[in-house]
């Protein structure tokens, strides 16, 4: 039996189809990731699976219970770490956990024991009496995770658990997520728009775009599916005469995308040959090759390959990046 079974799940808000008939299963003990840009529908899927909103169509069974018809049973078996911090900034860490435990009907004596244990397990034992508002972003997120574990859930849902955290805090949250699976055998379902997070943590990843699952597999299998085993990042000064077209004309090059002014990402099945051709090109055009680095395929390339656009295309704060397929 699967921990989560989703069948043709959809959600419409007015005229907007936020989630469009997604189907997938999550195995027990698995860390399952949902990767996609902001607005792809990840949070809507997680909110339907955690009973916060009702699906427009389709069905989902979480921990053996239907999310619509048996929502209370689902809530008892899952823990949820939403994208927004839901711990109360004006309560202490231990009060936040104890009151959350009371919402699950846990008796007072047990609440006291659980509170101490959970704060210790997330490294906040020494901050038990501190108000949540005084915690750093990483500590606050760990408090949220501790709160989500008060009733020992079978499945833990984490909606973009490291958004807005500094690198050290992100690392600490990653370690905690891996630790939960390793020590408790818990199933973890997380959404993210960070490639490295999905790559590092998840056993399987579903790439979501425009409310649909574009592809679902292990990180290794997803990377293997992308043509062009190597990716070159090259920068010129000044720019090439015809930019992307000049690079696409090279024999060893599969695909090219412009990352910025005179900065290109070149995918190739033959990395070294492509590197040589790029160097020749710069010599022929009399432009300086400012940098050239060879990388293996990343989930960024996977995302671009399967969706046809970059993960940050939807983020207006980042310059637009687009793949151009070689004809």
């Amino acid at each position: 039996m699967h921990a989560i079974e989703v069948n043709q799940l959809s959600k419409t808000f007015g005229n907007l189809k936020a989630v469009d008939g997604v189907s997938f299963t999550v195995d027990k003990g698995e860390i399952f990731g949902m990767l996609g840009p902001n607005g792809a529908g990840k949070s809507t899927i997680i909110r339907m699976l955690t009973t916060l909103i009702t699906p427009t169509a389709g069905s989902a069974v979480v921990a053996g219970s239907d999310v619509v018809h048996d929502a209370d049973a689902v809530r008892l078996k899952i823990g949820v770490i939403p994208q927004n911090m839901t711990s109360d900034p004006d309560l202490t860490c231990e009060e936040n956990i104890s009151i959350h435990a009371r919402l699950y009907g846990i008796p007072r004596r047990q609440r006291r024991q659980i509170t101490g244990e959970l704060l210790a397990s997330v490294g906040l034992a020494d901050r038990a009496k501190a108000f949540a508002r005084t915690l750093s972003g990483g500590m606050r997120r760990r408090l949220e995770i501790a709160r989500g574990l008060v009733h020992a859930p079978q499945i833990l849902f984490l909606d973009e658990p490291t958004t807005g955290l500094d690198p050290a805090s992100r690392m600490s949250v990653w370690e905690m997520i891996a630790h939960l699976r390793d020590t408790r055998g818990m199933t973890l379902f997380l959404t993210t728009h960070y490639m490295d997070e999905a790559d590092r943590l998840c056993d399987r990843i579903a790439i979501v775009d425009h409310g649909k699952i574009v592809v679902l597999d292990t990180p290794t299998a997803l990377k293997a599916a992308v043509p062009g085993a190597a990716v070159l990042e090259v920068a010129f000064a000044p720019d090439l005469a015809k930019g992307v077209s000049d690079l696409e004309a090279l024999a060893a090059v599969n695909r090219v995308t412009q990352q910025g002014p005179a900065l290109y990402r070149v995918a190739s099945d033959r990395g070294p040959a492509a590197a040589e051709e790029v160097m020749d090109l710069s010599r022929r055009q009399g432009v300086e090759l400012r940098s050239l680095s060879v990388q293996s395929t990343s989930l960024d390339d996977v995302f671009l390959h399967f969706t046809g656009h970059g993960l940050s295309d939807h983020d207006t704060t980042v310059p637009s990046v687009g793949w151009s397929k070689k004809k």
Partner: protein, 372 residues
Amino acid sequence: MMMTRAFAIVERDLRKFRRSPFLLVAALILPLAQLVILGNAFGGNIRNVTIGVVNLDHGPESVDVHERLLAVAANAKTFLPQEYGDRTEAIQALRNGKLGAVLIIPTNYSRDLLMGHHPRLALVTDNTDRATAGGIGATMADLVNSINRPEVAARQPAQVGLDTVEIYPYTSYIQYLLPGLITLAIFITAMIGGGILYIDDKQRGLHEGYLMTPITKWELIVGFNLAGAIKGVLAGLVIVIVGSMIAGVRGWWMPQVLGELLLVTVLTSIALIGMMFFIMARIDDPLVPRAIFGVLNTLLFFPSGAVYPIAGFPSWLRHMAVADPFTYAVHAYRALLLQQVGLGAILPDLGALVLTCVLMLGGATLLFRRAL
């Protein structure tokens, strides 16, 4: 189980309430300030207003008028007469706000009075200030009556007399105001705790934390309203006690009266927090409770008879008073604090408050959704 989960919300709210005195202070400061300032500003007698006296007669009877004016200035102190030789100058001083009124004693006043020609004194008042004009007018009417009274009493007394008996001790305006301000304190607690903070918590995502747990819609409603009602009762009782001490109300400390006051406070708190929960059930925008705060305050407080008797209202405003839950709370507090008449006299008020609780909580239950 149900109460355990609902009490989690109560525990959270009361911990925050205890920790941050802002809500309690905000709920208490306005009513107490109003009690002290409005209570002393309104309802007092008009005193020491300068009035201009233009004597165009200078006969013996006009001297009598002048002496009577000085008697008022020395005793009741309603006004202080100041002589003006010129009528135009006096009227200009009235227009400039230097005088509260001008009394004109006409030419030939003494002669006309002695000859029985019914002379008329003229009182020119600033009718933009009705309270002062009314006060001076009433004192001046007494003064004219005293002039008209015959020196020798009539052999036959008047056929009908009227003796007024006050059945309660003298009630000052500050005491009259107190019941409305107790109700106002409960309303402010409900408005801030059940309106502004409720929507702010919703906006900050704290309610999402509740919705992900097995807590039911009923438990949420019980939890939110119970927490709000407890805070309302605390604020109400503080004003009952402190306000009664400030206003000089006696007898509130008797156990039976205290028990009755507690009952009215509990019902008023549940009714007002229920009303707030009903209004906020579908609201997400934090600006809304802030925007309607003043409007609601005006719509509920003033038509309730808290500051002026409902008997003096026009018909449409009386209808508003009937629909206003404040009206029943104010009447019940007034009956218990100022008249000390017991539960029997306030049963209709209690019934109206219970009905408000049922209607508001019922409506809120229909509107409230256990969803984001």
